[in-house]
């Protein structure tokens, strides 16, 4: 798409220090992402996917190398890199509307008037089809709905990069498919730059422009990158038998189960 990299991760290393023992989780990770690109990160459990995402979010400090977003080095969290966590992380004492409004107020204070912020909150709830539940508390809505609200809160910040950490991991297959369709629609409409962690090969192939596959830790790095050559818009029943889909799917499965089995990571 664009010629210059929008987000670039350069020779990134992350080491956690727990007392005297240091554990090197990521080493020499290089990745460049174009504006509007949808990237999935896949890899065995514990290899460091969340760590990579959290570094981009600024929640985990860089030990080595750098993360550069829109020509500026990332040094700390901020609303230009909105995160949707696996377990939704909505504040339970606020309603659905208030959860989104909190983010809107914080990000757009001074830039939008009060009625504009109200309208923007409702707009984002409508985008994820959650307007009907806007006055409910998080514990009154289903898991899939919570993830929709989490997504609305992240989208409402108008982030440069949207960071999704296994956003649909805890959901059943039907709800998950439903949300994947919503994410594709929203991505088609808004052209966000997205980094998404997933364990689901089909989800990665269906949604992504490129799939980043990580080797097993410790000192995990990017093993290979698969480009998904499927035209958009994609509809799951139309694409899942095409050669491009099958090729991408096979490449990921081959990487995960033949070249980098999770056996020693799980042991």
């Amino acid at each position: 798409m664009s010629s210059r990299a929008y987000l670039s991760i350069e020779n990134l290393g992350v080491t956690f220090n727990a007392g005297q023992r240091a554990s090197e989780v990521l080493k020499g990770v290089d990745l460049t992402v174009d504006q509007g690109e949808f990237i999935s990160i896949i890899g065995h459990s514990g290899c460091g996917k969340s760590t990579l995402l959290n570094v981009v979010a600024g929640l985990v400090p860089v030990s080595h190398g750098a993360v550069i977003l829109d020509k500026r080095a990332v040094d700390g969290p901020g609303p230009d890199r909105a995160v949707v966590f696996q377990n939704h992380s909505l504040l339970p004492w606020l309603t659905v509307y208030e959860n989104v409004r909190l983010a809107v107020d914080k990000v757009f204070r001074g830039r939008k008037s009060r009625p504009e912020r109200h309208a923007w909150t409702l707009h984002n709830l409508a985008l994820v089809q959650m307007t009907h539940a806007k006055d409910k508390k998080p514990h009154e809505i289903s898991g899939g709905m919570k993830q929709r609200v989490g997504l609305a809160r992240a989208l409402a910040m108008e982030p440069k990069v949207l960071l999704l950490d296994e956003p649909f991991g805890a959901l059943d297959a039907l709800t998950r498919a439903n949300l994947q369709d919503s994410v594709m629609e929203i991505h088609a409409k808004l052209r966000n730059t997205v980094l998404m962690i997933t364990h689901d090969v089909d989800e990665a192939v269906l949604l992504s422009d490129r799939i980043v596959m990580m080797t097993n830790g410790p000192a995990a790095e990017i093993g290979d990158i698969v480009r998904v050559e499927l035209p958009r818009p994609r509809r799951r029943i139309e694409v899942d038998a095409t050669p491009a889909y099958i090729a991408a799917r096979h490449a990921v499965i081959e990487f995960l189960y033949a070249r980098h089995t999770g056996l020693h990571a799980a042991a």
Binding site: L59, V83, W93
Partner: protein
């Protein structure tokens, strides 16, 4: 008139449907709800009332007429009838109804407990959010909280010289530890996800305090307040015994010196009921304030 004759002579099945039908019709909704609420209340209230009756009967049966011993319920009723029936009399000095004594004690608790709530929550937030404060203060708190309330009284009398502030201080120092400790636990247990939400949104410390820290710790804070209010009520009764003046604690001590055990029993019932009401009040406040906060 003719009805009995009719039903006796006619075949039995004929009147039956007419009797069954009205029973099948559902009672109106409000009637059913009222019945449900009533039976719920009965299930809550009846067992303790029955138990109380049994205890009173046993007490009455066992306590005979030994002079100077524990008076039987009937004796208490005879001796302390005025005290039981009229809690509002006021003949000046300390000769007042139990309502006034309880009210004075409650005012002391309200003042002392308010201080300990404010200072306790503030200290708890500090100890919970700063590793350094935790390391330096927590061991001291753990030692101080084991000091019994009455042991503080001579110290506070020596420091403050006057009875009333000393009583307040004893309440304050008794109630503060559970508040500090529970608040600190609540702050330390704020889920990392909520903390991260605050960091991604770049909330300022005051914003973080109001929108995330306080609501997340509220259930813990109210646990501390509830334990604290119970302990402060225990402390006030004990400290008033030593201080004199108006108040339930001194009333008990006064009646003991006058050998009016019946009056003491009546006062104890008041102490128990007021303490129970305080506990329920704080629990209710906690439920109202933290609506939905505990379920995630």
């Amino acid at each position: 008139m003719s009805l009995p004759a009719y039903s006796e002579s006619a075949a039995a099945p004929v009147p039956k449907p007419a009797e069954v039908l009205p029973l099948r019709r559902k009672p109106p909704r409000f009637a059913r709800r009222a019945a449900a609420i009533l039976s719920g209340v009965a299930a809550q209230v009846l067992p303790p009332l029955v138990t109380l009756g049994v205890i009173l009967l046993l007490w009455q049966g066992l306590s005979g007429d030994a002079a100077g011993g524990l008076p039987a319920p009937a004796t208490i009723w005879l001796e302390s009838r005025e005290l039981i029936m009229d809690p509002f009399f006021d003949r000046g000095g300390v000769d007042k109804g139990l309502f006034w004594h309880a009210l004075t004690s409650l005012q002391r608790v309200a003042i002392g407990f308010s201080f300990s709530a404010v200072v306790g929550v503030a200290l708890g937030v500090l100890v919970g959010s700063s590793r350094f404060a935790h390391r330096s203060l927590d061991p001291i708190f753990q030692v101080l909280r084991t000091v019994p309330p009455l042991a503080w009284l001579p110290i506070s009398l020596a420091a403050l010289h006057e009875a009333n502030p000393s009583a307040l201080f004893v309440i304050f120092i008794t109630a503060i530890w559970p508040i500090v400790i529970n608040t600190a636990v609540g702050v330390r247990n704020i889920p990392q996800d909520y903390v991260n939400v605050g960091r991604v949104l770049r909330l300022s410390p005051p914003e973080y305090f109001v929108t995330i820290l306080l609501p997340a710790a509220t259930p813990y804070i109210f646990t501390g307040l509830r334990i604290g209010v119970g302990m402060s009520w225990l402390a006030i009764v004990a400290s008033e015994m030593l201080l004199g003046g108006v108040g339930v604690g001194f009333f008990i001590w006064d009646q003991y010196n006058a050998s009016r055990i019946s009056d003491i029993v009546v006062a104890l019932v008041w102490v128990g009921l007021v303490g129970f009401a305080l506990d329920r009040l704080v629990a209710l406040a906690g439920r109202i304030v933290s609506r939905g906060a505990s379920a995630s």
